[in-house]
C-alpha cells in the first residue's frame, strides 16, 4: 500500500502534529486537555519545568471513519518519559476502551520511566500492560506506532510488546536497555552508544521488522503511518492462551535461529539476505520489498 506523502516528517513532528496528520481531519477530541492544567505533582521538587498535558495526549477520534481512542507521547517533554499523570492518562484511556469496546492507537515516543518519579512511572507501566491485556482479552486491538525521536525504550518497550500490532519507521527504535544505559553499566566495549550505525542495526526499525518485532514498516511520513494503521485495524485482535503458545514458539524459534548472531548483519545474513551490509542504506520501498520475501513474521503470534 502506498500513501501520498504529506511532506511532514513523523520523526520531526510534535505529538499534536502527528495526531492531526494521522487522524481524520477535525475528529480528535482530547480528554483532560492542557486547559485543565493537570501537571506532574513531582517535578517541582527537582525545579524542573512542567507541562500542562504532562507529555501525554489522550482522546477519541476516527481513522478512515473507524472510531478509535488514541494516545500520543510528546518526546520533547522529559523525553516522553512515563510519570504518574502521564501514565495514568493512558491507563484510564485503555480501561475506557474496554468499557466502550474501542480499539486504541498508541503513538510511542519515550525513553522509558521518568526517573524523577521513578516508582510511580514503573508502576504506571505495569498498570498499562495489565489494562492492555484486559482490553485485548475483550476483543479489541492496541496498535503501537513507533518512529519518534525518543524511540520506544525501557518500560515503553515492554508496553509495545503487549500491543496487538506495531508499525515502525526506519528511525523507530524498540529496546529495553538503551545504548547509553548498556554503556554506563557494562562498558563501551559492550555497547558504544555513539556508534549510531550500531544502534540502528541492533534496535532500529529495519532490524525489528526483519525479525518479526514489528508488523508494518513505513516511511517517515504520517500518511504512511495512517495507511498502515488502517490495515492493522483489520488484524485479529485476540489475546488468549493459544496466541501466547504461538508467541512462545515464535520467540523460541528466534532464539534458536539467531541466538549466536553477534550483529544485526549476522541475523540478516541468516535470513538469506545476500548483501546484509546494504540494508541500512536501502530506500524504504526497496527495503520492504526485500524484507517481505525473507523476514520472520508475527501474525497471530503477538
Amino acid at each position: 500500500m502506498t500513501a501520498l506523502p504529506s511532506g511532514l516528517s513523523w520523526l520531526e513532528a510534535s505529538a499534536r502534529q502527528r495526531l492531526a496528520a494521522l487522524l481524520d481531519p477535525g475528529s480528535f477530541a482530547e480528554f483532560i486537555g492542557p486547559e485543565q492544567r493537570e501537571r506532574s505533582p513531582h517535578l517541582r521538587l527537582f525545579d524542573l519545568p512542567e507541562q500542562f498535558d504532562d507529555g501525554m495526549i489522550v482522546g477519541r477520534a476516527t481513522l478512515c471513519r473507524t472510531p478509535v481512542l488514541v494516545a500520543a507521547q510528546e518526546g520533547r517533554f522529559m523525553g516522553g518519559a512515563f510519570g504518574e499523570v502521564h501514565g495514568a492518562k493512558l491507563t484510564g484511556l485503555l480501561r475506557a476502551a474496554t468499557l466502550l469496546g474501542r480499539d486504541v492507537l498508541i503513538l510511542f515516543d519515550t525513553g522509558g520511566v521518568r526517573l524523577q518519579e521513578a516508582n510511580a512511572g514503573e508502576l504506571a507501566i505495569s498498570e498499562i500492560m495489565r489494562a492492555i491485556v484486559d482490553l485485548r482479552r475483550a476483543g479489541n486491538r492496541v496498535i503501537g506506532l513507533i518512529g519518534g525521536r525518543a524511540g520506544c525504550y525501557g518500560g515503553g518497550g515492554l508496553i509495545a510488546g503487549c500491543c496487538s500490532a506495531l508499525i515502525v519507521s526506519e528511525q523507530g527504535r524498540i529496546s529495553v536497555s538503551g545504548p547509553e544505559v548498556i554503556e554506563t553499566n557494562k562498558g563501551v566495549e559492550e555497547f558504544d552508544s555513539r556508534d549510531r550505525a550500531l544502534v540502528w542495526r541492533t534496535m532500529g526499525g529495519k532490524h525489528r521488522y526483519l525479525i518479526g518485532g514489528a508488523d508494518g514498516y513505513v516511511a517517515d511520513d504520517p500518511a504512511a503511518f495512517r495507511a498502515a494503521t488502517q490495515s492493522a485495524l483489520g488484524r485479529s485482535p485476540g489475546l488468549d492462551l493459544s496466541m501466547l503458545h504461538a508467541e512462545h514458539q515464535r520467540l523460541t524459534r528466534r532464539l534458536a535461529r539467531f541466538g549466536n548472531a553477534r550483529d544485526g548483519t549476522d541475523v540478516w545474513s541468516t535470513l538469506g539476505i545476500a548483501d546484509p551490509d546494504a540494508i541500512p542504506g536501502l530506500a524504504d520501498d526497496d527495503f520492504r520489498h526485500l524484507a517481505d520475501a525473507c523476514r520472520e513474521v508475527a501474525d497471530d503470534a503477538r
Binding site: F31, I32, H42, F46, V58, L69, E84, V85, A88, K89, T91, G92, L93, A97, L99, L100, E117, A118, N119, A120, E122, L123, A124, S126, E127, M129, V133, R137, G154, G155, G157, L158, I159, A160, G161, C162, I174, S175, V176, S177, I182, N185, K186, E190, F191, T202, M203, G213, L239, D240, L241, L244, H245, E247, H248, L251, R254, L255, F258, A261
Partner: protein, 239 residues
C-alpha cells in the same frame, strides 16, 4: 531469611524445588493439602531472553493444565540483563511475553502471588513481580527502578541532593517502603509469623481488578494517578 528458610516457612507440609541458571522451578503443598506451583528468579540474577522464555514456558504449561493451582513467583533478581545480544534478539518481546503469560494465567483461574525477598529492578521487576495478581514482600527486600548513583548521572543532580530529596518523597527513591507507598506491594510480611499463614491470607482474599492506584492514594505515595484515570474514563464515556 534465606530462600531455603522462606520456602520451609511457607510450606511446612513440604515442597520440592530445583534451581538452574538463576531460576527456580518447583511445587509446594499448602496447609489444606492443595498444591501450589513455584517459579522465579534467584541469586540476584539478571533476566535475559533465555530466562524470560523459560519462565514464560512454565507459566504457560501451568495455565494450560486442567487444574487451578496457584502460582508463587519468588523474586531476588537484578535488572533485565543489559547486553547488546539481548537487545539484538528483542528482549522487550521476551519480557512482555512473560508478563502476558502471568497476567493470562491469573485470568485463566490460576492465582498468581509474587514474593519479593531480595532485589529487583527495572524491566525484570515489571515482567515478574509487578505482573502478578498480588505482590508480597519481606523486610529487607530492596527493589529499585534505578540506584541513586545511576540516577545522579542521568538527572545530573549531586547524589547528596538526591539522598536528601529521597528522605522527603517516596515517589522516586529506591527501597521497599517507598515502592509500597505507591501501591505496588499489597503486603509486607512479618518474618516472625509463619509465612504459610500469611500466604493463606493473601490466597483467601479475592482476586480482583487492578487496585494499585487506589492503594497508592491511600498510602500517600501517588496522589493523582487514581483520579486522573477515573476522569479519563468519565470523559470518554460522556461522548
Amino acid at each position: 531469611m534465606t530462600l531455603a528458610d522462606i520456602l520451609t516457612s511457607l510450606f511446612p507440609m513440604g515442597h520440592v524445588a530445583e534451581e538452574r541458571d538463576g531460576l527456580i522451578f518447583g511445587r509446594g503443598t499448602l496447609p489444606g493439602g492443595d498444591p501450589i506451583q513455584i517459579l522465579g528468579v534467584v541469586d540476584q540474577t539478571a533476566l535475559g531472553v533465555e530466562g524470560a522464555l523459560a519462565l514464560a514456558g512454565r507459566v504457560l504449561e501451568i495455565a494450560a493444565s486442567a487444574d487451578s493451582d496457584p502460582i508463587l513467583v519468588v523474586i531476588d533478581s537484578a535488572s533485565q540483563r543489559m547486553s547488546r545480544r539481548d537487545e539484538l534478539l528483542g528482549l522487550s518481546e521476551y519480557l512482555a511475553h512473560l508478563a502476558k503469560a502471568l497476567l493470562l494465567a491469573e485470568t485463566s483461574g490460576h492465582r498468581t502471588i509474587g514474593l519479593l525477598y531480595g532485589g529487583s529492578a527495572a524491566g525484570a521487576f515489571i515482567a515478574t513481580a509487578l505482573s502478578t495478581g498480588m505482590l508480597a514482600a519481606l523486610p529487607g527486600a530492596h527493589p529499585a527502578v534505578m540506584d541513586l548513583a545511576s540516577m545522579a548521572r542521568v538527572t545530573k543532580l549531586p547524589i547528596e541532593v538526591l539522598t536528601a530529596k529521597a528522605e522527603t518523597t517516596p515517589v522516586f527513591a529506591p527501597g521497599l517502603d517507598n515502592l509500597a507507598k505507591t501501591g505496588a506491594i499489597h503486603a509486607i510480611w512479618d518474618p516472625a509469623r509463619p509465612l504459610s499463614d500469611q500466604l493463606a491470607e493473601l490466597l483467601a482474599s479475592p482476586a480482583g481488578d487492578d487496585c494499585r492506584a487506589q492503594l497508592g492514594l491511600d498510602r500517600g505515595g501517588r496522589p493523582k494517578a487514581a483520579a486522573i484515570s477515573a476522569r479519563v474514563i468519565a470523559e470518554a464515556r460522556r461522548g
